[in-house]
C-alpha cells in the first residue's frame, strides 16, 4: 500500500515535470485563465460607458432665447449641457447627426405668461434604438419642469398640488444597468468552469491517449506498479494543473474587480479575498472530478487528436446546465446543490451573491465530487488492464 502511494507520487511528479515543459499546455492554461477576466472586463467597460452616455445629455436647442427660464432650469439639472441647435432640426435628426433636438417656438413666452399650454417640440427618431434612452431622459426632464410650474401655479391659486396628481407612477426598470451587470456577473461561474476544464486537459490527454499514441504505455505498465497507482498519479498531477488554472483565474478576477467602478453602476457586488475563499471552496473540489472524467474518456482515444475531439464534446456537455441557469434564471431548488456541475454553478452564484450558505453543503458537495472522481479513476485503472487499450493503436 505504501509502495503504491510512493509509485503514484513518482508518476505524479513525472507528469507535472513533463507538463511544465510543454509550451502548448502552459499557453492553454494562461489563455483560458485570461479569458474570464478579459471578457468580463470588456463587458463592464462597455456597460459603464453606455451608462455614462445616459447620464450626460448634450441637448441641442433651437429658439433658446424664447424660454430663458426653462433653459436655466435645464442647465441646473446634473449632466445636462445645452448647445445651439441645428438650422434644420428635422433633417439633422433624420440623418442621425443629432439624436434629439428641442425646438422652442417664438410664441412660447406669450402662451406661458397667459397660463395657456405653451408648446415645445421634441424632434426625434423613434426607430433608432440607441437614442431611445436619451429621448426618454429629455422628455422626463421637460415633464418634470411642466409639473413643477403647474404646482407653483396651483399654490399661487391656493390649491394643493397634490389634488392635481391623482395617480402617481413609480418606474421600475427591469432592463437597468444593474440587471445587465448581474447578468455579466452570472457568467463568472461558467468561465471558471472553463478554466478548470482547460487546465485539466493537458495532462488528462497527454498521460492517457498520449501514452498510447507514443507507444510508451506498454513499457510503463510492465513496471511492478499497480494500475491504480499509475492512474492515481496521473490524476493527482492533472488535478494540480486544473487547480492552478482556477487559482490564476480567481486571482485575476479579484484584481480586475478592484478596478471596475461597480458602485458607479449602482451595483452592490464585491469580489474580495473573502469571496475568493468561498469561490475556491466551491470550485477546487470540482477539479479532481473533471480530471478523472477527462482521463477516463481520453483513455479510449488512440491519439491526442481523437482525445481532444472527445473532450470538446464533454466540455460542451458540461456547459449546458450553466448556460441554462444563466439564460433562464431558474429558481434554485435544493437538489441542484448535490448534482456535480449544476451544484457548483448554483453554489458559486450564491457565493458571489453573498448569500449565506451552510458549510454542510460545501462538505457534502465536495465529498460527492471526490467520490465520483475516485470511481472514475478506478474505472480508468480498469481500462489499463484491457489488451485493446494497451495494444490497440
Amino acid at each position: 500500500m505504501k509502495a503504491a502511494w510512493t509509485q503514484a507520487l513518482v508518476v505524479c511528479r513525472k507528469e507535472l515535470k513533463d507538463w511544465s515543459r510543454d509550451r502548448r499546455s502552459i499557453m492553454t492554461v494562461l489563455i483560458s485563465s485570461l479569458l474570464a477576466p478579459g471578457i468580463i472586463g470588456v463587458m463592464f467597460m462597455q456597460l459603464a460607458s453606455t451608462q455614462r452616455q445616459l447620464d450626460d445629455v448634450k441637448l441641442p436647442v433651437v429658439g433658446a432665447e424664447y424660454a430663458p427660464a426653462l433653459i436655466d432650469w435645464l442647465k441646473q439639472q446634473s449632466g445636462v449641457e445645452i448647445v445651439a441647435g441645428p438650422d434644420d432640426p428635422q433633417e439633422a435628426v433624420r440623418s442621425r447627426v443629432e439624436e434629439v433636438v428641442l425646438v422652442i417656438p417664438d410664441d412660447f413666452a406669450a402662451d406661458f405668461k397667459a397660463s395657456k399650454p405653451a408648446q415645445v417640440r421634441l424632434v426625434s427618431d423613434g426607430s433608432s434604438q440607441r437614442s431611445r434612452p436619451k429621448i426618454q431622459r429629455v422628455r422626463g426632464l421637460l415633464q418634470r419642469y411642466g409639473s413643477e410650474i403647474g404646482s407653483l401655479r396651483l399654490i399661487a391659486r391656493g390649491v394643493s398640488p397634490i389634488v392635481a396628481s391623482p395617480v402617481q407612477i413609480e418606474d421600475v426598470e427591469v432592463s437597468s444597468a444593474q440587471q445587465r451587470a448581474a447578468m455579466i456577473l452570472g457568467f463568472i461561474p461558467l468561465f471558471v468552469m472553463i478554466a478548470a476544464f482547460t487546465g485539466a486537459m493537458g495532462i488528462a490527454t497527454d498521460s492517457t491517449a498520449g501514452e498510447r499514441e507514443r507507444g510508451s504505455i506498454e513499457a510503463l505498465l510492465v513496471n511492478p506498479a499497480p494500475r491504480v497507482a499509475i492512474a492515481s498519479g496521473k490524476w493527482i498531477a492533472g488535478t494540480a494543473t486544473a487547480m492552478l488554472s482556477v487559482l490564476v483565474t480567481g486571482t485575476l478576477l479579484v484584481v480586475l474587480f478592484r478596478y471596475i467602478p461597480l458602485q458607479d453602476l449602482g451595483i452592490r457586488f464585491r469580489l474580495g479575498p473573502s469571496q475568493l475563499v468561498g469561490f475556491l471552496a466551491v470550485v477546487l473540489p470540482l477539479c479532481p472530478l473533471i480530471v478523472a472524467i477527462q482521463m477516463y474518456v481520453a483513455t479510449f482515444a488512440k491519439s491526442f487528436k481523437e482525445a481532444q475531439s472527445y473532450l470538446s464534446f464533454l466540455m460542451m456537455a458540461q456547459m449546458v446546465p450553466g448556460m441554462m441557469a444563466t439564460m433562464n434564471n431558474t429558481a434554485t431548488k435544493a437538489w441542484m446543490y448535490y448534482v456535480p456541475w449544476i451544484g457548483q454553478q448554483t453554489l458559486l452564484t450564491d457565493v458571489l451573491g453573498n448569500k449565506p450558505i451552510s458549510p454542510l453543503i460545501f462538505v457534502v458537495v465536495g465529498v460527492v465530487n471526490v467520490a465520483i472522481a475516485v470511481a472514475a479513476v478506478r474505472a480508468t485503472a480498469g481500462l489499463l488492464h484491457k489488451e485493446k487499450i494497451i495494444f490497440g493503436r
Partner: protein, 243 residues
C-alpha cells in the same frame, strides 16, 4: 529462469500462439527466432503479463505469472515491442523515472543510472531531451530504463531492429554482459545472424508453434543444413519444398 508450458492465444479465428513451450535458463541467452507474424511478440506479451493467455502456464523464477502478475513483473526487465519515450524528458530522467517506479531511490538510483549511461556509451547525451534522438539513441534509452532495477530476467522484443552497426554492437555487448552476470536473457528476432551470434539456445517459432529448439549445432544436425539460414528457412516452412 523462465518456463513456458503449452501456451495458447487466439485472436478471433487466428491462433496466434498455439501450444508454445520452452525454457530459458539462468546465465544463458535464449533466442526466439521466427518470421514476422509467427507469434513471437504475442508470446512475449503474455510472458510480461500485459496479455492474458487462453491456456497454458508461465513461470518466472517459479512465480506463476498468470496468478501473480505483479510478482512476475518484479523479476522482469522488459524492452517491449512498442518502446515509446517521453519527448520532453531527458535520457537520464527516463532511466530515473523507471528506477523510482521500481522503488530505487537516492544515491542508489544515481549510481545505477550513471553506470547504465556509461555502459551504453550515453554519457554525452544523458541530459538531452529525447525528442531529437536517433533511433539508436532511443533504443539505448529504452533498454537502459528497462534494466535499471537489475532484473533477474531480461526480455527484449526485437532489440536490434532497425539499428545501425554501432548501436547493434552496443546492444549485443549488453546482452553478453547480462549473460556473464548470470541473468536470464530471452530475446526475439527474425534475423538469423543475430541469433546465431549471441544465443546458447535457439527456439524457432512459426505459425504460433515451436518447430525446433536447441543449440545452433543441434539445429544444423536436425535439419541437415550446414548453413543456419538454410536450417531456419527449412524449419519455419517458408519454402514449400526445401532443397
Amino acid at each position: 529462469m523462465i518456463r513456458i508450458e503449452n501456451l495458447h492465444k487466439r485472436f478471433g479465428e487466428v491462433r496466434a500462439v498455439d501450444g508454445v513451450s520452452f525454457i530459458a535458463a539462468d546465465g544463458q541467452v535464449t533466442g526466439l527466432l521466427g518470421p514476422n507474424g509467427a507469434g513471437k511478440t504475442t508470446t512475449l506479451r503474455m510472458l510480461y503479463t500485459l496479455m492474458r493467455s487462453d491456456e497454458g502456464n508461465i513461470f518466472v523464477d517459479d512465480v506463476d505469472a498468470e496468478a501473480d502478475p505483479q510478482g512476475a513483473r518484479l523479476r522482469l526487465g522488459v524492452l517491449p515491442d512498442q518502446s515509446g519515450l517521453y519527448p520532453r524528458l531527458t535520457a537520464r530522467e527516463h532511466i530515473e523515472y523507471f528506477g523510482e517506479l521500481q522503488g530505487i531511490t537516492g544515491v542508489d538510483l544515481r549510481n545505477r543510472t550513471d553506470h547504465l549511461l556509461k555502459m551504453l556509451d550515453m554519457t554525452a547525451i544523458a541530459e538531452r531531451r529525447v525528442a531529437g534522438f536517433s533511433h539508436g539513441e532511443r533504443t539505448k534509452t529504452a533498454l537502459a530504463r528497462a534494466i535499471v532495477h537489475n532484473p533477474k530476467n531480461v526480455l527484449l522484443d526485437e532489440p536490434t531492429n532497425g539499428l545501425d552497426v554501432m548501436s547493434t554492437r552496443a546492444v549485443r555487448e549488453i546482452i553478453r554482459r547480462l549473460k556473464s552476470e548470470g541473468h536470464t536473457v530471452l530475446f526475439s528476432s527474425h534475423v538469423m545472424q543475430e541469433v546465431s551470434a549471441l544465443c546458447d539456445t535457439i527456439v524457432v517459432i512459426a505459425r504460433g508453434r515451436i518447430v525446433a529448439s536447441g543449440t545452433p549445432d543441434d539445429l544444423r544436425t536436425q535439419t541437415g543444413h550446414h548453413n543456419l539460414e538454410d536450417a531456419f528457412v527449412a524449419l519455419s516452412g517458408l519454402e514449400a519444398s526445401p532443397a
